[in-house]
């Protein structure tokens, strides 16, 4: 009896009474009601010439209930943790008049969108009619550059899909005369869609996204308006203004940047040695130099592909070359790697060598063609490094948009170029039986050792200047960077300095100042240590480059 009851209830539990009993028929009267209620929150007509759609938020009505965030997720069928709207907080005021203000925010559909400008594959479109900045999901290769360029932290990368997503102002709904999800979901009607005059945004960008601690509207000319009847309370600060957290490390990019710079640096050194070395050395050493330099570059580009969400579409990066520094970087390094490969092939593939020798004469290989190829490789490599610098400068993040980035990238190029070739030299020098070892050792190596000591010290000094910002009275971007170096990432910072000082200053100095000739074992150990420590130091420097940058963002919330 009892068992039967359990089974009966378990069975009943799985039956769906409600659906059959109370299912609603699709009711077209519902649709019209839906439109009636929300139609006053969206413009009646599409924008005229010189206008575009924009979000408008009445701050006096936004109470921070965050229904807009939930609704965006549901009405757009997004991933389980995804929403294109978020709500931040600013607070302050005075003891007598404290103030708290929630700030709902989504894409600002900028006049000069940084996401669009930086995209290497033209996966963004700004509609000439509505002004809506739309992301073309199928075109996206998942490079995530837009997540770095957008000062409002709008595009969000989905690891699962390998692409970014962003708000399209529910264009599909607007076209059908319906309100976007967030607009329809706001219980107090704080969010609406309006049309703004483009020239008004251009003339007075500061009137838009005028929120404490929001990024400057001059960066991208956002179109969202935050309105309030009240006088803005004093001392308003975003709730997360003082919460300083390390940024994403973008590990593949750390390797990509460091190794491309090593490779380019190596080619620059090879280019210079090409004139300096005598034929004897060249015959022995060049193939190894070239091979190492090329392999480092190839490895860098290989690793960089890991950063892409959809690497198979990487070739699309050529189409953004007109405006995207990332596209240019990819193209430059693509050309650089191809040229480097050709150059390496000449040395290493017998038949190629023979073929060239037979057709073009022995002189050719070592002569003009070879020189042109080497020069071109070096030039494209250097252009690539320059593009790398621009990729980060264009984000306008203060720590990246600084002459320091230029100096860091090129000094890494120089230091690692020298270190790599010095290392290659001393290892292979052992194989040269009758060469002018002494001369080679005494002049080139000493020059190189001095070179890395000086360059490393310069680099360390430049990098350390940021730490002076710890004394800033205000919580500046640079102070936050310095804080991140000193506190959360202290071990990395120490590691960066120690490895650099040991590997690129102390050990070279030991070699330079020792009186007795070193044994073969010591040479290999010391030079090996110089190479490994210098390389580690540059990896760590680049790790800090990514993790201590303080991005722009809209106000968030406090805590974790």
């Amino acid at each position: 009896m009892s068992h039967r009851l359990i089974d009966e209830y378990l069975e009943k539990q799985q039956q769906f009474s409600a659906v059959e009993k109370f299912a609603l028929q699709y009711d077209f009267h519902q649709l019209s009601a839906n439109q009636q209620i929300y139609e006053d929150l969206i413009p009646k007509n599409t924008p005229s010439e010189g206008e575009q759609y924009a979000f408008s938020v009445d701050l006096d009505k936004c109470t921070g209930c965050k229904a807009c965030v939930s609704a965006c997720h549901h009405e757009n069928g997004l991933d389980e943790d995804e929403s294109w709207r978020s709500v931040g907080l600013v607070y302050g005021g005075t003891a007598a008049e404290p103030a708290v203000q929630h700030v709902t925010t989504a894409c600002h559909h900028c006049l000069d969108p940084a996401c669009l400008n930086g995209c290497p594959v033209n996966a963004y479109e700004k509609s000439p009619i509505t002004g809506i900045v739309k992301h073309l999901d199928d075109q996206c290769i998942g490079c995530q550059y837009c997540t770095l360029t957008c000062p409002y932290d709008v595009p969000k990368y989905s690891k699962k899909k390998g692409i970014v997503h962003k708000c399209d102002m529910c264009i599909g709904r607007l076209e059908a005369g319906q309100a976007p999800a967030c607009v329809r979901a706001c219980p107090s009607g704080a969010i609406r869609i309006t049309t703004v005059k483009v020239d008004q945004v251009q003339k007075n960008p500061d009137d838009f996204v005028a929120i404490s601690n929001a990024p400057s509207s001059r960066l991208t000319q956002p179109t969202t308006r935050y309105l309030s009847q009240k006088k803005e309370p004093p001392h308003m600060v975003s709730a997360d203004f003082y919460s300083v957290k390390p940024a994403h490390s973008h590990t593949p990019l750390i390797f990509m940047l460091t190794l491309t710079q090593l490779s380019v640096g190596a080619f620059v050194v090879i280019f210079m040695l090409n004139h300096y070395l005598d034929q004897n050395f060249k015959n022995y050493l060049m193939p190894y130099y070239v091979l190492i330099a090329f392999l480092a570059g190839a490895l860098a580009l290989g690793v960089s592909v890991l950063h892409l969400g959809r690497p198979f579409y990487a070739f699309r990066a050529v189409i953004g070359i007109k405006k995207s520094w990332l596209s240019r970087e990819i193209v430059m390094f693509g050309v650089f790697a191809s040229l480097a490969m050709c150059y390496a092939l000449m040395y290493w593939i017998g038949p190629v060598k023979d073929l060239l020798n037979n057709f073009l004469g022995e002189q050719f290989l070592t002569g003009r063609f070879s020189n042109i190829l080497l020069s071109a490789t070096t030039v494209f490599g250097l252009l690539g490094v320059y593009c790398s610098v621009m990729v980060y400068q264009k984000t306008k993040r203060p720590f990246w948009d600084h002459p320091m980035t230029f100096m860091k990238f090129f000094l890494t190029t120089a230091i690692l170029g020298i270190v790599t070739i010095v290392l290659a030299s001393v290892i292979f020098i052992q194989m040269v039986p009758n060469g002018n070892t002494d001369l080679f050792m005494s002049t080139l190596t000493r020059m190189s050792l001095w070179g890395i000591i000086v360059l490393t010290l310069i680099k360390l000094v430049i990098e350390s200047t940021i730490l002076f910002n710890l004394f800033d009275r205000d919580m500046t971007f640079f102070k936050k960077t310095a804080y991140l170096m000193i506190y959360p990432l202290r071990k990395i910072t120490i590691g960066r300095y120690v490895s650099s000082l040991l590997g690129a200053v102390c050990f070279p100095a030991i070699i330079l100042f020792q009186d007795h000739p070193l044994s073969r074992g010591w040479i290999v150990t010391l030079y090996g240590a110089i190479f490994l420590l210098s390389l580690t130091a540059e990896f760590l420097e680049r790790y800090l480059f990514f993790r201590t940058v303080v991005p722009f963002k809209m106000p968030g919330r406090s805590g974790v």
Binding site: C65, A71, G559
Partner: protein, 745 residues
């Protein structure tokens, strides 16, 4: 032809162009919107049918339109026509389906071995036999009263009634209470004493019709966003007056914010009453016709002069006088309160001070008026009437023999099976465990190991029990972790029944989703327990929630909460919820109705009472060491109580800080050299915990605020109770804040 054209393009420029620059494709289509009767919806989630049901979080009682596809709930949108929420919902409402699919759902009964703590999944037969055997053993050994239950305001009225009847009439349990004790007991007692019945008089339309709204200890912007929506719909440009120690979101939106000293609300309200009386700003006619004891009240408040009230509350004399004048000048003044009033050592009297203001100014029974308690849980109001805990079924009295006879005859049971004594309230049940009088406890859909005031003590106390049963959706709740037996319950959306919202509206829960594994609706679990206990015959007529609803109608007949006019669930569904009272034979003309339009209250003389008392000192005074006032309350609109459900949603998790935090005034923080986001120690005489500092101006100097949703908070709170409602005074205790390194935890 078409095929040919396509082939031609394969190696043609179009293909190449597409390969290089693909403007549309499967990824775009995945998010493409298509037309539906609900407007544009994602194609993937296009429903094949829909049904409306009331939300299962708070007492606002919004209706949600659940979208079903292949008999599975895939999405929802708030119901546009429901006379509560008119198409809107808070973030919890939008996310209501997500917690159903959490990985820590209890999918079978579990028995815990006490020594190893290991949980073993068992079948229902074993679980029920264990339940009955252990509990009967305890009852035989220690007496019938040694068994108690703690229930909830989160499930259906039919389930509450069945549980209450089963436990008290069938199993002989005397002591049972509900977590509604923690949120609105003070309001319930206040109404009962003042009006003669626990009857919140308002309808949400009153939010729209007032010209003055007074909010006391309420932050509807965050706690009840959809009620705030109704305030926003008010076309009369109302004056909004907020009494709250903190500058909350609602205080920000107010015309005036009165940042009083914590727990000085009673003094302020008596002070206002005095000014109104002194200036003759009162409705003499109403007072004489419909109330008693006004003169006594008048004599009582005379001592609350502005000069006395001002230093007690921290408000200026001018501010207090202006406050009174605004009330006087208002044509339709409504008074609203929530937990700031209820969760107090003198909550009943404070609520009654508000009721008194409404009565003396005639601000009751008219549109836009009333002394209105905003409730907490989705069915706290059902619990107040039908849980058979504090009140006998239908808002009756256990001590009244007529009431017992009436219920016995209505249910066709022996009147002697109805206890002739009152149940212990929550705190006394816990005292009973300490005293060794309660040996077995049955906890249903509530989480006292998180929520009970002075939680550390509670956790120690329940270890004294010989047997603890927890019936819940999740095996992971803080309380379930102590359970000897866990019974897996179906949740909101997996069962049907009715709930009653803040404005007395009976709404409908429906079954739209399959419960996981062996989980059963609480209703079925109670029926099975009746069967195994051997009292199934008593509940033969309690066949299904729908038949129990008919029983509830019978029980309500002749009571103020009469719902005999509601035919069945279909009618509730059709009418968009129905407010009580709704008598048989009446026509439902107005979807939004308020009480007392005729000025007749529920006492036999039909008059309301002025009830008052002297203010009492703070339960835990501050001292030199513990010099901060620790306030607690709701954190964000995305968090619900002990978070057993809301923490399951990745969307909601983004909307509140993951770590516990303490809001501290800027000046205090500077004095203690505490920095934003720094981990600090918060200590009371009960416990010391770690929390992240959030430095604000919105909390006054000398006060700190912590949200209640984090499990650590109630380790700190001080167990004081309102002496009439036995509601815990969560809102305030003495604390200190310090740097971490001073201590080791």
């Amino acid at each position: 032809m078409i095929k040919k054209a396509k082939d031609k393009n394969f190696f043609g420029t179009e293909y190449l162009a597409q390969l290089l620059h693909q403007k549309d494709g499967p990824l775009m289509q995945e998010l493409a919107l298509v037309s539906s009767p609900l407007g544009k919806l994602p194609k993937r989630l296009l429903p094949d049918t829909m049904t409306n049901m009331v939300c299962g979080f708070c007492s606002t009682g919004c209706s949600l339109k659940v979208h079903l596809k292949n008999n599975q709930p895939v999405n929802l949108t708030p119901d546009l026509e429901y006379p509560v929420n008119f198409g809107e919902a808070c973030p919890k409402g939008w996310e209501a389906l997500t917690p159903l699919f959490a990985p820590d759902r209890a999918v079978s009964p579990y028995i815990r071995e006490r020594t190893s703590g290991k949980l073993t999944a068992v079948d229902w037969d074993t679980a029920l036999k264990t339940f009955v055997q252990r509990f009967k053993f305890i009852q035989e050994r220690y007496g019938k009263e040694s068994l108690a239950f703690l229930s909830t305001g989160q499930f259906c009225t039919e389930e509450m009634a069945l549980l209450g009847a089963l436990a008290k009439f069938g199993m002989g349990i005397v002591h049972g209470d509900s977590n509604t004790r923690q949120c609105m007991a003070s309001a319930a007692v206040a109404y009962k004493q003042s009006f003669g019945f626990d009857a919140p008089p308002y309808t949400y339309k009153d939010f729209e019709e007032s010209d003055v709204l007074v909010f006391v200890g309420a932050n509807p912007c965050i706690a009840h966003p959809i009620m705030w929506q109704r305030v926003c719909l008010n076309p009369h440009q109302p004056k909004i007056l907020v009494i709250d120690p903190r500058k909350t979101e609602t205080a920000m939106a107010a015309t005036r914010h009165y940042s009083i000293h914590p727990k000085s609300d009673l003094v302020l309200l008596y002070g206002l009453a005095r000014i109104l009386i002194e200036n003759n700003w009162i409705d003499r006619k109403f007072i004489e016709a419909h109330t008693i004891d006004f003169e006594k009240f008048k004599a009582h408040v005379m001592r609350f002069t502005p000069d006395f009230v001002s230093p007690s509350t921290g408000l200026s004399v001018e501010a207090i006088e202006e406050f009174a004048r605004i009330i006087h000048e208002g044509q339709r003044v409504s008074f609203w309160w929530t937990m700031g009033v209820n969760q107090s050592h003198e909550g009943v009297r404070t609520a009654q001070a508000l009721i008194n203001l409404a009565l003396m100014t005639g601000n009751i029974g008219r549109p836009g008026t009333g002394a209105n308690s905003i409730t907490g849980q989705c069915n706290a109001m059902g619990s107040r009437l039908f849980s058979n805990t504090t009140n006998l079924l239908g808002g009756r009295d256990f001590l009244n023999p007529d009431n017992r006879n009436k219920v016995a005859s209505l249910l066709g049971i022996d009147v002697h099976s109805i206890p002739a004594q009152n149940s212990w309230p929550y705190d006394q049940i816990i005292e009973g465990i300490i005293a060794g009088k309660i040996k077995g406890l049955w906890v249903i859909a509530t989480n006292p190991a998180h929520s009970w005031i002075n939680q550390s003590e509670f956790r120690e106390v329940i270890k004294k029990l010989e047997f603890l049963v927890v019936q819940d959706m999740y095996y992971s709740t803080e309380t379930a972790q102590f359970a000897d037996l866990i019974l897996p319950a179906a949740g909101w959306g997996e069962k049907e029944g009715t709930v009653i919202n803040s404005e007395r509206r009976v709404g409908l829960f429906k079954k739209v989703s399959a419960a996981p594994g062996l989980a059963l609706a609480d209703f079925y679990i109670f029926k099975l327990i009746a069967q195994y206990w051997g009292c199934a015959r008593m509940f033969e007529g309690w066949f299904s929630p729908q038949t129990v609803f008919q029983i509830l109608k019978k029980l309500s007949q002749g009571q103020p909460c009469d719902i005999t006019g509601i035919e069945d669930y279909a009618m509730i569904d059709r009418m968009g919820g129905i407010q009580w009272p709704f008598l048989l034979g009446k026509e439902l003309r107005d979807k939004e109705r308020r009480l007392f339009e005729d000025g007749r209250f529920y006492y036999p003389d039909q008059k309301a009472r002025f009830i008052f008392e002297d203010e009492r000192p703070l339960p835990e005074p501050l001292d030199e060491q513990f010099s901060f006032m620790l306030l607690t309350g709701r954190g964000t609109s995305a968090q619900w109580h002990t978070q057993t459900r809301t923490e399951k949603s990745p969307i909601l998790r983004q909307l509140y800080p993951k770590n516990i935090y303490v809001e501290i005034n800027q000046e205090d923080a500077a004095g203690l050299n505490i920095k934003q986001d720094q981990w600090v120690m918060v200590e009371t005489k009960r416990a010391r915990i770690k929390a992240q500092a959030m430095i604000v101006q919105t909390v006054r100097k000398g006060q700190i605020f912590m949200p209640m949703h984090y499990v650590e908070t109630n380790k700190l709170t001080f167990a004081a109770f309102d002496s009439y409602s036995r509601q815990p005074s969560y809102k305030i205790c003495a604390a200190r804040v310090a740097h971490l390194p001073e201590y080791r935890i």
